[in-house]
Amino acid sequence: MSAPSQNLGAPSSRGFIALKWARIGKVARAIVSTHHRNIGFGYLTISTIAVILGTLLSWAMRVHLSWPDWQLPLHGPILPEEYLALVTMHGTLMLFFVLTVAPQSGFGNLILPAQLGARRMAFPRLNAIAMWTTAGALVVLLVAFFVPQGAPISGWTAYPPLSASALAGPGEGLGQDLWLFSLALFCIGGTISAVNLLTTIVKLRCDGMTWPRVPLTVWGWLTAALLSVMAFSVLLAALLLLFCDRHLGSSFFLPRGDFINSVLLPHRGSGSPLLWLHLFWFFGHPEVYIAILPGMGLTSMVIGNFAHRRVFAYRLMIVTTLLIGFLGILVWGHHMFVAGMNPFAGTAFAAASMAIAIPATAKVLSWIATAWRSRPSLTTPMLFALGFVSLFIAGGLTGPILAQPILDEYLHNTFFVVAHFHLIMAMAGIFGLYCATYYWFPLLAHGRILSERLGKWHFWLTLILAYTTFLPMYLGGLAGEPRHYSRLTGLNAPAQALLGSTQMIQLHITGAGIALGLAQLLFFINLILTLRSPRRAGPNPWFATTMEWAPHTFDEPTEPSKDLPALATFRGPCHYSEDGASFLPQWEPPPQQPASEGE
């Protein structure tokens, strides 16, 4: 069925209806499609909804913290348990539905096959199932806001016994169950999506795409997918055990003699809450590497692209990506130094955590060396990649501080930790997503480029406001300010003396944070304006060398039976001349044919 291509006079009503049904059919087909492009956009839609909601929740949190008596419109004052519910849902939405979905499943589905020279993913139908499962998980999570007693209050980490008994607080009944169910769905969807990604990378590389020629973005996706497959299963097991504790009378995480709200819990057996911490953080630490690894790979490739240079120490970058992934599995105890774990185990985890700093430093050195004295063209994607490097350094260098148990004894669960992970995950991770969007926009939007002017304003405002918002949190944390407090004023005397000095910092952070959120409107304005007024750029406006920019990668076959020309790779990425003026993309056949071809 095709829409009429010419308007030959006044359209008949039948023609209009046919056009309308053709449009609806197109949308309906896009929704149930198994094509990776539509699925990728589906994932990005999920992430966009989640990030907008998560940002609004964080605004409510910040304003309440600064002015505790402020009344949320249409709701009234935010009660302490509601504040904790905001914290829990903000963390869950952002970490799972934005930072795991968008870089890995969203952009992975959109771009990965093209970067490998493939035209499809390995399991298109499973891919679609995974996407709809993730969408269902988001819906289930949001329903938790509307059930009696509301959303759970135990944080995105859900430590039992707080999360294991409905007696421990409001929202710990049905709200916590919905949270569990939502995350269980998410784990299943995430695992299926990761299996799809892995099989595609292993089996569907085009001719000539040997492992050393695979772009670093793909190495990032590969490592993140391997971590996903391993980590989500462990989370699923932990969620199942918590569900059993909550409803089936088991005691995996509940100790004997637990006395909550004047009720002695009736279970038999003696569990340990520390077991949940081990299981959860065994998942939780690889989870944050899943969030950041694709961005790191993209940063390497984008810096190489715009500096018109080979990526410095390419093979070392592959090794460091895999090493960060591997070491990320060994360090989970650094979230538990003061949680009741054996102090000897603390030392072991501290050593492993410091070890991760080495490959991360190697990556930073490579990024700087690639761009060093290269006179890069400072387009918006390049700016966001450099911003990623900057934020990664500013947030990452406090990692080794937190990895020392004696220092973590002071800094654990203070705003210092909040600043650390927000700078790395929220800001560097989001910068990776913006870099991806600006960079691949011409590919995904049929030749349109987002406005450079608006993009640069967006970048500088976001970068400056990000630092303005999160750097002062370090100072607040060093003052001893704890996390998860629904108010930092009106406390009793010695606590007030301790925390009172940080009130100014808190007000400042609130203002900067709201401005930071508002600055993102520039991006959406840019998006809408560009989509409405097509500016057709050339097929490879950034002079990129990776396969997704090859001509005909996104072509659809005109007839179902015809094959599209096979894509082949002839060299590694980022082959630029020394002066940066010319480049040799991966898909171009070699300039001269060797004389003896004996094949």
Binding site: L248, F570, G598
Partner: protein, 260 residues
């Protein structure tokens, strides 16, 4: 059959330039040595030269196997997590009012029908493997491909149905085991070890139930699907999943029987 002469490999001299980033292309500058899955008569027929999707009957199969491998890897991590919780719980205890450390792990004596169930599952693995191998027998492949009936599908369907029957027997036997335990008032929440008995056997049974659903789907595909490659993939993937679930059951059984 005419003999196929394969020309000897021509050794290319390695480029001496040490700074050159190795690109895995053996110096030819074009593509790596792809293995030649020829159609029969030597060069010019290399499936590796064709676009993706036309690389021969094993392409889809190996894709499915790799996908299944990763998915089962993740699934095994799920069971690894449960089993490690098992060992932690086994050695955990609590402090009583007199500050004495009490470890109150009471091993659950498992019903002896589980031995029968294990045997049944092992036999079902054998029948499943017979089904899988019959999908790849060359003679029958040729017959089916030419159109001389469907010997593969018939034989495989027979073995698969046997596997289905045995698998259902296993699940019924598990149900009997749970009933027997319940008759002795050993429920999920009775004590720490009973948590694990029920948890491990129920999660395994759920996985096996999915395997039975896959067997049914494979049988349906054998009857209806026109492409031989698709049928091979369906049966192969189902049977590999079945084998892994069988091996997993052996581990869980040894754990529950001997390691409590």
């Amino acid at each position: 059959m005419p003999t196929i002469l394969t020309p000897p490999e021509i050794r290319r001299p390695r480029r001496p330039d040490r700074d050159r980033v190795g690109e895995g292309d053996n110096g030819s500058g074009r593509r790596p040595p792809t293995d030649k899955r020829t159609g029969g008569n030597g060069d010019g027929d290399n499936w590796g030269d064709s676009p993706q999707g036309r690389h021969g009957p094993r392409e889809r199969l190996s894709r499915a196997r790799i996908g299944l491998f990763f998915a089962l890897g993740g699934d095994m991590m799920f069971f690894v997590a449960l089993i490690s919780v098992f060992f932690v719980a086994k050695s955990s205890g609590h402090f009583d009012a007199y500050s004495r450390y009490i470890n109150d792990w009471l091993p659950t004596s498992i019903p002896s029908i589980l031995w029968l169930n294990t045997a049944v599952l092992l036999v079902s693995s054998v029948t499943a493997e017979a089904a899988r191998r019959s999908m790849f027998r060359e003679q029958d492949l040729m017959d089916e491909w030419i159109g001389l009936g469907r010997p593969i599908s018939r034989r495989a369907a027979l073995w698969l149905s046997t596997t289905l029957l045995l698998g259902s027997l296993f699940l019924a036997g598990q149900w009997v085991a749970w009933d027997q335990l319940a008759a002795q008032h050993v429920f999920f929440d009775s004590n720490a070890s009973s948590h694990f008995f029920y948890l491990l056997t129920v999660t395994h049974a759920v996985h096996l139930f999915l395997g039975i659903a896959a067997l049914v789907a494979a049988l349906v595909m054998l009857a209806r699907c026109r492409q031989l490659a698709k049928r091979q993939v369906a049966v192969d993937a189902t049977v590999w999943y079945w084998h892994v679930m069988g091996i997993l059951w052996v581990f869980l059984f040894i754990l529950l029987e001997f390691c409590q």
